[in-house]
């Protein structure tokens, strides 16, 4: 499905939450990344229909979902979407089964509903919890129920609003993989809002990066990582080293052995930090703090020679010219 945003904009009174945005989304798994208050959740809620844009047009393929000009505004329940909330949003007075079946009422027969709900529960590995109330489940289980509720309605798009931030880090990593594999097995797209850059890079086919209500870059994670649109993006995604000419060098492009067609820098080691599979070395190079990797620690205040291949430096300024 092709999701098109044209001049979508949202104001709360005099505050502009999301500035005029034009965007086309076709990838299956898209993340919206940004710090809190950057407007990413507002953008997601506008896609869901929970918040009405102040202006603009929104289309799913050729179907107009929202248009301020033509006064079109399709209700959230008619948009063919599912949504997973940060705080789960499971209705506490209903059983897990009823929570998942709620979106199917009046649409399917009782027998069909039962089959669909049990199938969804099986996908999230919670078949035995159907009769429980949400309050009796752990956080991770509740999040799975919320996911099951979303896939049960057979949506063309599932929206995740900081869906994993309420979980601890081990569970989060596990859920990441589960969500990815479930989305791949069902015929649905996903848009995932997060402030966690590793989550965003690992999960998505396409990243949308927002700052202060504006989309500042969108593209595949590799492209965003190697060719960030500006300083902010470069520092947000991965580790960034800067040369005196304000060129960007990622840590893995810095070598301790001479490289063909490379530039040599000299640095003074500040400290070495153990990361498990490698050490990250902090060194001062031309007045800048650089970080690079090595398999062994370096003594503080020792002098290192660093080799950088020319084609692995990326200039933000040349790009702008």
């Amino acid at each position: 499905m092709r999701i098109t945003l044209q001049g979508i904009e949202k104001r709360f009174g005099s505050v502009q939450a999301v500035g005029q945005t034009d965007l086309t989304i076709t990838d299956q798994f898209v993340t919206i990344l940004g710090q809190s208050g950057c407007g990413k959740t507002t953008l997601l809620k506008m896609l869901a229909g929970l918040t009405d844009p102040t202006a603009g047009e929104l289309r799913f393929d050729d179907q107009v979902i929202f248009s301020s000009k033509d006064s079109v505004n399709i209700k959230p329940s008619k948009r063919g979407i599912g949504m997973v909330f940060q705080d789960f949003g499971l209705w506490p007075h209903m059983s897990v089964f009823d929570n998942i079946a709620f979106g199917l009422r009046d649409k399917r027969s009782k027998a069909e509903r039962h089959e669909i709900v049990m199938d969804a529960l099986q996908k999230v590995q919670l078949e035995d919890k159907a009769k429980r109330k949400p309050g009796e489940l752990s956080g991770g289980q509740q999040q799975r129920v919320a996911l099951a509720r979303a896939i049960a309605v057979n949506p063309r798009l599932i929206l995740f609003d900081e869906a994993l931030s309420a979980l601890d880090s081990i569970l989060r990593e596990q859920m990441r993989e589960e969500i990815l594999s479930i989305i791949q097995t069902i015929d649905s797209q996903a848009i995932f809002v997060t402030h966690d850059q590793t989550e965003a890079m690992a999960m998505s086919d396409c990243m949308i990066i927002m700052e202060a209500g504006k989309v500042i870059q969108n593209g595949p994670p590799e492209q965003v990582y190697h060719a960030p649109a500006d300083n902010y993006v470069a520092n947000l995604i991965g580790r960034a080293n800067w040369t005196a000419d304000r060129d960007l060098i990622r840590p893995e492009a810095i070598h301790l052995q001479p490289q063909a067609a490379g530039i040599t820098h000299t640095g003074i080691v500040r400290k070495s930090l153990f990361e498990g599979d490698r050490y990250i070395i902090h060194a001062e190079v031309d007045g800048q703090l650089w970080k690079f990797y090595d398999s062994r620690p370096h003594e503080a205040r020792s002098i290192v020679k660093l080799y950088v291949q020319e084609d692995t430096t990326y200039s933000l300024y040349k790009q702008e010219v």
């Binding site: 949504m83 909330f85 705080d87 949003g89 209705w91 007075h93 309050g135």
Partner: protein, 550 residues
């Protein structure tokens, strides 16, 4: 070592027991003990007494009707405040608390003066006022207009919490707004409604102001007014008063217990966060019209009319002459503020009693809150319960108990018949506020504060002065203000326990109204309300400041 560490805790416990538990035991003892042995005669006789049975029936009917009345007002208001353009009008919540903060006897007097023969209704509309107002229906109306804010606030808070992701999930997965409302909002709202309406029932049973003024005029007697009658009118019948008190106490305990069961079983951890902006949709014309109309009518009836009457009466020279400019006078206020007048000394008494009571209650409340902590041990839970009892049990029951207890012949010393009696009474009745507000600000602090104190504190005294006092100051002050303003206006206790020839502003207003000389009384009412409003404004300001600072 152990004993000396625990000593302050048990001393505080003993003090609370003396203040709050002893009076209740005195009521029990008086009813069930005869010549040193257990006896049910007095109580069973009371249960056979027709007058007492009628009183019970009156109270229950009134309670149920007031639940109905407050629901009609509060439920639509709560919905309007969460689902329409009114969602952003936060100032409304402060306005809605005015009826609740108005002493019930003052509101009731306002309505009586408005609707009575030759009253303001007749002079405003130049027609005869409907005499049918002075009936049970009128009483239910007045009490509902006083109590609805309580139900409204509880319903609104629940609706606001549902408004977050619960509502959003319903919007996405549900098919019709009506079904969403029936299957999601209503069930989630129901437990709150059940709890709130039970509390409304208790509050109605415990209320004295409206029954003592309006109820008396229409001959509708309830628990509180009957207990007052038995104790204040000759021949004094203490045993009937204690039996009635005991029935009232039992009913309230049972309802409170039911309320607890509901809250334990059916209150879900509603942690639907980020409710944020719900009302960005434009309301339709009819919704807007209806909500404006509804809010205006409720405000007019619950604030406009009673306050109009009170202020008008306080300013009119001769009430029968009606509303004319040349009939206006400030003489009632002048009389109130002339030294040595009865009104002035009543006002000064009230201020003095309330100040002393609030200060002592704040100190006891602070130490109680610090001792209870998070109520982990059984003694702590018991202390919590003891300090909260006056919140559950109607004030008049405590007043009866206090009179009995402080009149016991074996006491080495007594406060009865001294000016300390009203002070002790106010402390007992309003201690829960002092404890609750301090407990509230204590619970907002992070647990690690206790740990930091343990690690870095050099002495208990320093911890108390440098950590607890500054951190809890805002809560202590809020509790102090609350205790002060409700002590200022307390009526039923003051009527029964004041030493001879001492009056307070509340008893002054009441006796002036009884004697039909309402002008000075109503001037006093206006002063009382102005004091209340200014103190609440200070409290709100303090709370807002504390919020922005943290």
């Amino acid at each position: 070592m152990y004993a000396s560490k625990q000593l302050p805790f048990w001393m505080l416990f003993a003090l609370l027991g003396l203040l709050a538990a002893a009076p209740l035991l005195a009521v029990l003892g008086y009813t069930f003990m005869e010549d040193g042995s257990l006896s049910f005669t007095a109580f069973s006789e009371a249960l056979k007494n027709d007058r007492i049975l009628t009183t019970m029936e009156h109270s229950f009917v009134l309670g149920l009707l007031v639940i109905f009345g407050t629901t009609i007002i509060a439920l639509p208001l709560a919905i309007i405040r969460t689902k329409t353009q009114f969602a952003n009008k936060h100032w409304l919540d402060i306005v809605f608390t005015i009826p609740f903060m108005t002493p019930p006897y003052i509101g009731s007097m306002g309505w009586m003066q408005f609707m009575q023969h030759n009253g303001y209704y007749e002079s405003l509309f130049s027609t005869t006022a409907p005499a049918s107002f002075f009936s049970l229906a009128g009483m239910v109306f007045i009490m509902s207009m006083h109590l609805y804010p309580f139900l409204y606030l509880m319903l609104r808070n629940t609706l606001v919490r549902i408004n977050g992701s619960f509502q959003e999930a319903a919007d996405i997965y549900g098919h019709s707004p009506l079904m969403n409302w029936i299957r999601i909002v209503l069930p989630l709202l129901l437990s709150t409604y059940a709890m709130a309406s039970l509390l409304i029932f208790i509050k109605t049973l415990a209320e004295f102001g409206t029954p003592a003024t309006f109820g008396k005029q229409i001959g509708f007697y309830v628990f509180t007014t009957e207990i007052h009658q038995y104790l204040s009118r000759w021949p004094v019948n203490i045993s009937a008063a204690t039996s009635l008190s005991l029935i009232l106490l039992s009913v309230c305990m049972v309802i409170w217990y039911l309320q607890n069961i509901i809250s334990r079983k059916y209150t879900y951890g509603i942690h639907s966060g980020r409710s944020g902006i719900s009302a960005n949709k434009q309301d339709s014309m009819s919704v807007r019209l209806f909500s404006w109309l509804f809010v205006s009518v409720v405000l007019l009836l619950s604030i406009g009319v009673p306050y109009f009457s009170i202020i008008a009466t306080s300013l009119l020279q001769v009430r029968g002459d009606g509303l004319h400019w040349d009939n206006l006078t400030f003489s009632h206020y002048a009389e109130l503020f002339s030294l040595h007048s009865e009104g002035f000394s009543a006002l000064m008494n009230s201020l003095g009693f309330a100040f002393t009571a609030a200060t002592i209650a704040a100190v006891i409340g602070l130490f109680t809150a610090l001792s209870i902590k998070n109520a982990a041990t059984k003694p702590q839970q018991l202390m919590d319960f003891t300090s909260m009892m006056p919140n559950i049990i109607p004030g008049i029951v405590f007043v009866v108990g206090l009179i009995l207890f402080w009149n016991m012949s074996w006491l080495p010393a007594t406060v009865y018949n001294t000016t300390w009696m009203p002070i002790v009474t106010y402390i007992v009745l309003f201690l829960p506020y002092a404890v609750q507000y301090t407990k509230g600000s204590l619970s907002q602090l992070h647990q690690s504060i206790h740990h930091s104190n343990a690690v870095y504190g050099t002495s208990n005294f320093i911890i108390f002065v440098r950590i607890w006092l500054p951190l809890l100051a805002q809560g202590i002050l809020a509790g102090w203000i609350m205790t002060f303003i409700i002590s200022m206006r307390e009526l039923v206790g003051s009527l029964l326990i004041l030493p001879p020839s001492v009056s307070t502003s509340a008893t002054f207003i009441y006796s002036q109204f009884e004697q039909g000389d309402a002008g000075v009384g109503m001037a006093m009412a206006v002063i009382t309300v102005l004091l209340t409003i200014s103190f609440i404004t200070i409290m709100n300001w303090l709370q807002r400041r504390a919020l922005t600072h943290s």
